[in-house]
């Protein structure tokens, strides 16, 4: 049963609330510097050349009223607010800005052809289902065996993506061909985590021996000005990872002592 809401109260069932009035094309992005989904959205805005206000949500603090109002369903970042209308979910946001902001000075991210678009969407879904899941297992696995299994899965996923890159790039630098496209940005959201993982583990996630095209793509993508403009500080990410690991280890030790 849907509970009765008095008129004037916040309708928590409507995820896209009018957060504030805006004029012209006002873009605000609610984000968190360490999130790969926020990075993905920032990359899209950067490659489209879209200026916007960026509002950082605290990692461990309370979520802002603006975030809670504009994404009441998930209460998560990223949230894009365009002229007062909120759009949530990184892939939904990227497709939205690609459709709305067009023109010669706003390069298209998704291909023009419906079939190529379907292929890009397929692989973007794959990245979120498989690559993200394997990374989360690597980071949050309860045992070292579980984490190792996550790492093994991430290498398997990388090999599959290597095949996709070979097929889609057709010898050109990016998944999108000559220029960065939707899939480059979908994967690009993870480059900071990949870089961090490489530093912490001392080995490469996109190993040039196993996945040469992906390894080259990674270097090339990270060197682009539009990427560098929004890339988080990897040293800070390394520190954050170490801090989170220490916290998880302490929690696990406390549990095993009390049991």
């Amino acid at each position: 049963m849907i509970p009765y809401l008095h008129p004037g109260t916040l309708n928590i069932y409507e995820p896209f609330v009018k957060a504030m009035a805006g004029e012209g094309d006002e873009l605000k992005l609610l984000g968190m510097w360490a999130s790969p989904f926020v990075l993905r959205t920032r990359l899209a805005l950067s490659f489209k050349g879209l200026s916007h206000d960026y509002i950082e949500e605290e990692i461990f603090g309370n979520k802002s009223k603006l975030l809670l109002m504009s994404n009441p369903v998930h209460k998560k970042v990223p949230v894009l607010i365009h002229n007062g209308k909120a759009i949530c979910e990184s892939q939904v946001i990227v497709q939205y800005i690609d459709e709305v902001f067009t023109g010669t000075d706003r390069p298209s991210l998704l291909p023009a052809n419906p079939y190529d678009r379907a292929v890009a969407r397929f692989w973007a879904t794959y990245i979120d289902d498989k690559l993200f899941t394997s990374f989360m297992t690597m980071i949050k696995g309860k045992t070292s065996e579980e984490k190792a299994e996550g790492r093994k899965q991430s290498f398997a996923v990388a090999e599959t993506l290597e095949g996709a890159l070979k097929e889609l790039s057709k010898g050109k630098p990016f998944f999108g061909g000559d220029n960065v496209g939707y899939l480059d940005i979908a994967l690009g959201g993870f480059v900071a985590w990949v870089h961090t993982g490489d530093i912490l583990s001392g080995s490469k996630q996109f190993d040039a021996n196993k996945t040469p095209l992906l390894a080259a793509w990674f270097e090339r993508f990270c060197a682009l000005d539009a990427t560098k403009a929004v890339m988080p500080d990897v040293e800070k990410l390394v520190d954050l990872s170490k801090m989170r690991q220490a916290r998880d280890d302490a929690a696990a030790a406390a549990v095993s002592q009390s049991s």
Binding site: P114, Y115, V119
Partner: protein, 229 residues
């Protein structure tokens, strides 16, 4: 790809995902050949055309292959003439995609796990499902379908909550989407299953009950293995 190229859909009895793709083709009036897979014994056709997941549905349009049910629905909408499946307005499209993602990850997954798990774990999944279905039901807001008067993308995304849900509750005895708790969704389910295009692709409820009954043990094992990870 020319609209005139032949269309084949690789599906399987009982798959709500294959159903989504098939209804999209029906709604657009696209002629197609349906190839039904035996999922216990997958064909070379399926394995070669979906080597990543080995799953249905797979759309073959001339030489091109499209996988993932909701990706297929968008492809069909963009490629063929006929009534639009997604809204025209970019913001409304973004909302539809958001809710489809919500349905897939926050409704259907815990719903499925509610059916096949037991005890405290099952109770938690049921609670999660009910909370999320409440949010979803609010999106109907008295409308006939999620997009308004005509059936569309989000209705196809939610199809499991229509015919499949009834069959699953009959097989498992788990009562989740009741008339009392979710009158809006139950009304929507009747509208959905009465739609002419949907009726042509809808598996009969009693056949679904038999099908789920036959695979009950397998689903229970998979669900419990997933939960214990």
């Amino acid at each position: 790809m020319s609209e005139q190229q032949p269309v084949k859909l690789i599906g399987a009895f009982g798959s709500p995902f294959a159903h989504r793709a098939e209804v999209a083709l029906k709604l657009k009036g696209v002629p197609y050949e349906l190839i039904l897979e035996d999922l216990e014994n997958k064909s070379d056709l399926l394995l070669t055309h979906n080597p990543v997941h080995n799953m249905v549905p797979v759309l073959l349009h001339g030489d091109e292959t499209v996988c993932e049910s909701l990706v297929i629905v968008e492809y069909v909408d963009e490629t063929f003439d006929g009534p639009p499946l997604l809204p025209k307005n970019s913001y409304d499209r973004a909302k539809a995609r958001f809710w489809a993602h919500f349905i897939e990850h926050r409704c259907l997954k815990p719903f499925w796990l509610s059916m096949w798990t037991e005890g405290e774990v099952q109770t938690e999944f049921m609670e999660e499902t009910k909370q999320n279905l409440t949010l979803l039901e609010a999106q109907l807001n008295g409308k006939k379908f999620f997009g308004g008067d005509t059936i569309g993308y989000l209705d196809l995304a939610a199809c499991m909550l229509a015919q499949w849900h009834d069959a699953l509750e009959k097989v498992t005895g788990v009562s989740l989407v009741t008339d009392d708790d979710f009158p809006g969704l139950r009304r929507w389910a009747k509208e959905y299953t009465s739609n002419e295009a949907v009726k042509q692709c809808l598996p009969k409820r009693d056949l679904l009950v038999t099908y789920f009954g036959l695979h009950k043990q397998k689903y229970k094992s998979f669900a419990n293995a997933l939960v214990s990870q």
